[in-house]
């Protein structure tokens, strides 16, 4: 193997490691629900993508999609059997009652954009 090849392979490996770190070890934006309403912005992902809720305190998720991509046009909260169409630039309200503790993921219609709801005591 020539030195060129070794350098190329090494940089490639670093690139792959970086990509892994970039996507899987990143920090999420966490929001603890203070009031009965949680605002979620949908713009190239969910902001915030992690929402902490308190058990048995129902909240209303107020979701506003401002990203025109149809990738984000649906939100799915599987634990609550909810799948909602999000019209562009129109707030959609979803009421949920976090009646059990745990981590409950939510995602877009095709499961590529993710977020989670953490229910604690």
């Amino acid at each position: 193997m020539t030195p060129d090849q070794i350098i190329i392979l090494l940089s490639g490996t670093l690139g792959i490691i970086f990509t892994y770190w970039f996507f899987f070890a990143g920090k999420d934006t966490v929001l603890e629900a203070a009031g009965p309403k949680v605002n979620i912005k949908v713009d190239g992902g969910y902001k915030p993508s992690v929402i902490k809720l308190i058990k048995d305190k129902p909240v209303e998720l107020s979701i506003l999609r401002s990203d025109p991509s149809d990738c984000l046009e649906e939100i799915v909260l599987p634990v609550w059997n909810i799948k909602k169409f999000l019209p562009l630039n129109k707030e959609i309200n979803i009421k949920i009652n976090p009646d059990k503790k745990g981590i409950f993921p939510f995602h877009c219609g095709m499961n590529m954009f993710h977020g989670k709801i953490i229910v604690e005591d």
Binding site: D4, Q5, I8, L9, S11, G12, T13, G15, I16, T19, Y20, F22, F23, F24, G26, D43, G44, G45, K47, S49, S66, D67, P68, S69, D70, C71, L72, V76, L77, P78, W80, N81, I82, K83, K84, F85, P87, L88, N89, K90, H107, C108, G109, M110, N111, M112, F113, H114
Partner: protein
């Protein structure tokens, strides 16, 4: 609509002209807030729309003036009141039109690019290499950066949020391809792939457009449901008919519905009689006759009679709203088979990005070995011949772009939800409501179907089965006995009385006038019909009334009673004249449906509280094997019986949603039979809107067909990616072909799901 004293939350959307920056947004918002009644105004620059909340009707002219005064204009005054925003799904027709325009604009530039590039491949670059590269580069700017802007934007914005999706792959693929354009002008080490980028974007936009269309078709059923409801209602207020919006109806309002009109909301008929087309709600294709006291469903069509209807349910409580809610819930529910696909899609794009780096690195490090390999296929893949003569860097870029654009997470992501969406829509149209998607998967393993007898196999209400005449009462025919009994009973609400009246009507017997009607609690009735004193009831009542029972045939009566029938006796002027036997009868389609179930390979069981003899008599009539009859099962033992059967089989339980709720929950698949308007049943995985067993057969067929579609779709999506990605990695796929394949694979999945609509589920 006058609403002086009612606080009405109104929403209004206006189109604003002339905005071009963020400060314009603020100006317009401020102007709109000055309009009396406006409580909130938010303006979106991207869509040129203003969204206004108000607590009363706002004067559009004032709004126009206000907006004009700050230098902008309101374009459109079309408003849509959105009091019912829950039900308002964006039809996104405008978005579709935009997508179509983008697609054609993109092709307008990509097609010349394609032709020019093919000429270069076949003949030589025209007019020369430099101008060819420059020309392609210039033409490619439009498809990639104008129609493709939204894709690039979402793709890169996702990266900013440390996540990635389909758009990220396309965005990276096209930008990498585009960058080779300017570079190719500087060095001949790099091939110009800008044109390839333009074509990828065009295919991507085409794919998206076609796929969105197909998905629109998949969700058609629920959209149709949403559009079903009537917009206005005619109500009676202070003796006058006035027309109001359906949203403003209140419970106990009296609606007037003329022939040919839609019934605005759920209610009870208080005057009139008509045939009603309920097909949109229950899937029942024949019109149903309804009269005073019957309940009607909102959005069904009144055929021929004028009806006065009292409103019983409004808004979210109506039948139609419940159906929509159930269908939406089903579409949001999970199917176990999907879990693996979900795990894959959730990491799919990042993994592909890593694979792209891997591809690039290997092609750069070992260009000759890899191109030797791909050259083997040059006979039928012409572009692989080319690959050996271009620079290693270009070869690496070529394969990397192909890897980026071939990967198709969409097909995986769409496979299950689209099939579920089509299935639940198709079900709803036929009166089958799937509450949990999981039931579709469980159904394929179900071997035993357990049916509750009363109300499921049988009608659950009595019918006249026999008419017994006293020996010497030959002057009286069965018909005239029935006529007399029905006339006397016509004032009674007792189920047995109603059954007798119904039978008489069915036989075309006219009812005579009744006087001095009196109901004897727990015994029967006394009445006078055409001057004759009639007593109908138990033998005890007749004895109490000192009726001459000389001709009472206790043997025959006893025999009828052992068959599980209820027998009532009739006397005319204190002489016993005959008896009428009533029993719960089998539904018209039960026998056929059950034999269909057996043909499908299910073991069919019947569960009942009746004694074994009566139960077996019914079972025999509908073709259930005697050993599969579970008799004398008290309501609280049903769960235990289901559990017992579950030791041997996966069990589907069919029963009514109220009394059988625990058994429905215990069974692997619970199928609740609704009666009429009550579908707000919490138990059961599948709800049958009509109490017909043939609908059960349809539901099972639908479940199986839907599950098959899901399996097919998932198989195709996995197969496609598993085969195509390695091909791209090896440089065997031209990026443009890769993109075309990618786009068509998600279209295939959605189209295949749509084909489910062709399944014949009716028996």
């Amino acid at each position: 609509m006058k609403s002086d004293n009612i606080q009405l939350q109104q929403k209004l959307t206006l189109e604003i002209e002339g905005m071009h920056c963020a400060s314009c947004v603020k100006l317009v918002e401020r102007a709109l807030k000055k309009v009396p009644g406006v409580t909130k105004a938010s303006v979106n620059l991207a869509t040129n729309k203003a969204y206004i909340d108000s607590d009363k009707e706002i004067d559009i002219n004032i709004a126009k003036n206000e907006v004009n005064s700050v230098g902008y204009a309101i374009k459109d005054t079309s408003r849509h009141s959105e009091n019912n925003s829950e039900m308002d799904q964006d039809p996104s027709l405008a978005e579709m039109e935009k997508a179509r325009q983008k697609m054609w604009l993109s092709w307008g530039f990509s097609l010349p690019v394609a032709i020019w590039m093919i000429l270069e491949m076949l003949v030589s670059p025209w007019p020369n290499m430099y101008l060819f590269n420059l020309g392609i580069l210039i033409l490619s700017v439009v498809p990639i950066f104008f129609p493709g802007f939204a894709t690039l934007n979402t793709g890169f914005k996702a990266l900013k949020n440390r996540t990635a999706n389909m758009d990220t792959l396309i965005a990276l693929g096209t930008t990498v391809a585009f960058i080779t354009g300017p570079l190719s002008l500087l060095t001949d080490q790099i091939n110009n792939y800008a044109g390839v980028g333009a074509m990828i974007m065009s295919f991507h936009l085409t794919g998206r457009f076609v796929e969105a269309n197909a998905r629109g078709r998949a969700s058609q059923a629920i959209k149709r449901l949403l559009e079903l409801g009537a917009k206005t209602a005619r109500v009676l207020q202070n003796g006058q008919e006035i027309e109001i919006q359906v949203e403003n109806l209140k419970v106990n309002d009296i609606m007037i519905v003329k022939p040919g009109e839609k019934i605005p909301t759920d209610g009870k008929i208080i005057e009139g009689q008509s045939s009603i087309d309920e097909s949109m709600a229950t899937g029942e294709s024949l019109p149903v006759t309804k009269k005073k006291g019957d309940t009607v469903i909102g959005a069904t069509v009144n055929f021929n009679g004028l009806l006065k209807i009292k409103v019983t349910k409004i808004g979210e409580d109506t039948f139609l709203s419940q159906v929509i809610k159930l269908v939406e819930q089903a579409q949001g529910s999970r199917i176990p088979i999907q879990e693996f696909a979900d795990k894959v899609t959730s990491v799919f794009v990042p993994v592909i990005l890593m694979l792209a780096i891997f591809t690039f690195t290997l092609w750069l490090a070992f260009p000759d070995k890899l191109s030797q390999f791909s050259a083997i296929f040059s006979f039928f893949l012409p572009w692989t011949k080319n690959i050996a003569v271009i620079s290693p860097l270009s070869r690496a870029i070529f394969a990397t772009i192909a890897v980026l654009v071939i990967a198709c997470p969409c097909a995986l992501g769409l496979a299950t939800p689209t099939a579920l969406m089509v299935a639940s829509g198709l079900g709803a149209e036929n009166g089958i409501l799937i509450r949990k998607g999981e039931a579709l998967q469980t159904m394929k393993d179900v071997k035993a179907v357990v049916l509750d007898k009363t109300g499921t196999i049988t009608k659950g209400k009595p019918d006249v089965t026999d008419v017994l005449l006293a020996k010497t009462a030959q002057i009286l025919s069965e018909g005239s006995l029935l006529q007399l009994a029905a006339s006397a009973e016509s004032g009674s609400e007792h189920p047995l009385a109603r059954a007798i009246v119904e039978k008489a009507k069915k036989d075309g017997l006219s009812l005579q006038k009744v006087t001095a009607f009196k109901a004897v609690s727990g015994g029967g009735i006394k009445a006078e019909v055409s001057g004759k004193k009639i007593v109908i009831g138990t033998d005890k009542l007749l004895q109490e009334e000192n009726v001459n029972l000389k001709e009472f045939d206790s043997n025959k009566v006893e025999q009828l009673e052992t068959e599980g029938k209820t027998v009532v006796h009739l006397s005319i002027d204190s002489v016993y004249r005959g008896s009428i036997a009533l029993a719960d009868t089998i539904k018209d389609d039960s026998q056929q449906a059950l034999s269909e179930l057996k043909k499908m390979g299910f073991s069919v069981f019947m569960l009942t509280g009746d004694n074994l003899k009566t139960a077996r008599a019914i079972a025999e009539k509908v073709g259930i094997y005697a050993e599969n009859v579970l008799a004398k099962v008290m309501p609280d033992q049903k769960v235990a019986k289901v559990k017992e059967l579950q030791k041997k089989y996966k069990v589907a339980f069919v029963g009514d949603g109220i009394n059988d709720a625990p058994a429905l929950t215990q069974a692997d698949v619970g199928i609740a039979m609704g009666t009429g308007t009550d579908i707000a049943i919490e138990a059961g995985d599948i709800i049958l809107v009509r109490g017909e067993l043939s609908l059960l057969v349809s539901a099972i067929r639908l479940s199986k067909a839907a599950y098959n579609k899901i399996v097919q779709n998932l198989f195709w999506a996995f197969f496609y990616n598993i085969v195509a990605i390695p091909l791209a990695f090896l440089g065997l796929l031209h990026p443009v072909i890769a993109e075309a394949a990618m786009a068509s694979s998600s279209i295939t999945v959605v189209t295949n799901a749509n084909l489910l609509r062709r399944t014949v589920i009716k028996t």
